[in-house]
């Protein structure tokens, strides 16, 4: 009997659990999912919760009945420390977790495993930016459904003020010098702008994009080249054109350091310390690992064996420090397996990337200001599935060779950037890149397969985004033939 433990029930963890239960006989093998909340949320639709177009109930559901049906044990708890070799009493690897449910809150237990999937995603590191506290004053976030729901309340207050003739400044973008997830902030600013204009309040609103990107459209993936209108142009033009069309202005190469109730303080790559007044701010925080600790059998701290300095888990990536010019797709992991403990995996945002994709930049004062590597939903789902497939193969054949692979240097990603909700008036840009990490050896001219890379704005994009919301929730709910829907 194999005992598989999955930490986290987000895109990567829930996908892995779903395929594990499909591929393994549950009478023979045990699957346990551990997550601090019993709900699954479709995070991309938080954007619509943040502008009042969806309610949190429409984007989340309770996982427990589904896991019951699937024969998966669910434990509402958060992982804290890893013991990959066990300890003096327990002979197999285990994790120490703390219950988060009402009945046992704060109580700790040890959960043993034969295979461990760490899919705990990012810690939303708001503390790394002074004053960036969602829900405080004029600061909002859309990173969770709870945050997004508050963002909508704050947004309504501002809409009311504008209706009463007051001017308001909306600043949306990145809230840390090395934050990632620009795509989500980009969607939110476009939706906020759309909702302001829909109400005819644009005269009262100033909408500003603030970003750590070197150029707009970088999105943490070094930008992309897309064929359009007889030219091959960069996503810089695409993003700028989108903003100019809507009268949104921008501040780029900005590392946000601090916020108070009405001012954002930032440093730019020129080393200048500047201020931006605001009435409503939605800034994506930095991402980090959860601060997990790891111990060997004797109790010695071996956290650096499992985790990179940013707290994310080490996997089969090449972490040798090298200059940007020497980066290749071979640096990127393929199986998400920990190199020291082969029965531990980290798909999704939980794995430590070997480096960023965008070129690291430093201000004249030595502050790193650039976009970290993004890991969007589609790659996270694929990594979760590949991890499950490899574990299933290992259990069934006894052969520990990882036969399923999914490198961000080979897989593509599709991202639908919503820019306004509505079946007739809505709009979104459909973006695809392949591969996610540019492969300059295979595609020396554009870094990616130009035939499959695109960026196309229009109403069809909204229909796609809307369809994906229902399709991915259908899949996550394990409804009939869920597995036919790709990640």
């Amino acid at each position: 009997m194999a005992n598989i433990v999955v930490l986290g029930a987000g895109v990567a963890g829930h996908t892995a659990a779903a395929y594990l239960q499909k591929g393994l006989n549950k009478k023979e093998h045990k699957i346990t999912v551990i997550s601090p909340t019993p709900t699954y949320q479709w995070i991309p639709s938080n954007i619509w919760v943040g502008v009042g177009r969806m309610t949190p109930e429409e984007i989340k559901f309770d996982l427990r009945p589904l896991y019951n049906k699937w024969g998966i044990e669910f434990i509402q708890a958060k992982a804290q420390s890893f013991y990959p070799e066990g300890d003096e009493h327990i002979n197999t690897g285990f994790v120490e977790v703390e219950y988060t449910n009402e009945e046992n809150k704060g109580e700790k237990i040890k959960i043993a495993y034969d295979y461990l999937i760490n899919a705990t995603g990012p810690k939303l590191n708001f503390e790394a930016t002074e004053g960036l506290i969602p829900g405080n004053g004029n600061i909002a976030s859309v990173c969770t459904f709870g945050h997004a729901s508050h963002a909508w309340e704050l947004f309504q207050e501002k809409l009311d003020k504008m209706k009463n003739g007051e001017n308001q400044i909306f600043v949306i973008g990145t809230g840390h010098p090395t934050a990632t997830c620009q795509g989500a902030a980009f969607e939110y600013i476009l939706n906020v702008d759309f909702e302001i204009k829909r109400r005819g309040l644009e005269k009262q609103a100033q909408v500003i994009w603030i970003t750590n990107e070197y150029e707009l459209g970088d999105f943490g993936m070094g930008g992309a080249f897309i064929p359009k209108g007889g030219f091959i142009s960069n996503t810089k033009l695409f993003a700028e054109s989108y903003f100019v069309e809507r009268n949104i202005t921008w501040i780029k190469r900005a590392g946000v350091k601090k916020l108070d109730d009405h001012t954002i303080y930032y440093e730019n790559l020129d080393g200048e310390y500047l201020e931006q007044p605001y009435d409503f701010a939605m800034l994506i925080p930095g991402f980090a690992g959860h601060g997990f600790k790891a111990y060997d059998k004797t109790g010695k701290d071996i956290s650096d064996k499992l985790f990179a300095p940013n707290g994310l888990m080490k996997v089969d990536a090449d972490y040798t420090p090298k200059p940007f010019e020497e980066w290749t797709i071979k640096d990127w992991p393929e199986t998400y397996q920990n190199p020291s403990y082969h029965n531990i995996f980290a798909p999704g945002i939980a794995f430590a990337p070997p480096h960023s994709i965008s070129k690291p930049m430093t201000s004249k004062n030595g502050t790193p200001i650039f976009a970290s590597a993004p890991r969007t939903g589609m790659p996270s789902g694929i990594m979760g599935k590949v991890t499950a497939d490899n574990i299933i193969n290992w259990i069934k054949t006894g052969n520990a060779t990882m036969i399923h692979k999914a490198s961000m240097g080979r897989m593509g990603a599709a991202c639908i950037v919503s820019a306004g909700y509505g079946m007739r008036k809505g709009t979104a840009a459909t973006m695809t890149v392949s591969p996610v990490v540019p492969d300059w050896e295979k595609f020396p001219q554009w870094g990616r397969d130009i035939k499959t890379t695109m960026g196309e704005p229009g109403l069809a994009g909204h229909w796609l985004k809307w369809l994906m919301h229902y399709m991915f929730l259908y899949k996550a709910k394990g409804l009939p033939f869920w597995w036919m829907i790709p990640e």
């Binding site: 054109s241 790659p379 999914a406 080979r410 593509g412 990603a413 695809t432 229009g458 109403l459 990640e487």
Partner: protein, 53 residues
């Protein structure tokens, strides 16, 4: 629109391309977008299938 150009002259916002009326019409046209919807689906599926090994 003229207003924007005067205000933004020589700033970053002055230079990027802006869609003309025909492009905006195509982006909103139900008929054209319906065709694009199927093409976009096909293009995404090609990438999705390639990503799994």
């Amino acid at each position: 629109m003229e207003n924007r150009l005067i205000i933004t002259k020589y700033s970053e916002q002055y230079y990027p391309p802006t869609p003309n009326n025909f492009t905006l019409f195509l982006r909103r046209s139900i008929f054209f977008q319906l065709i694009r919807f199927f093409i976009l689906n096909y293009k995404i599926m090609k990438i999705v299938i390639k990503g799994h090994s």
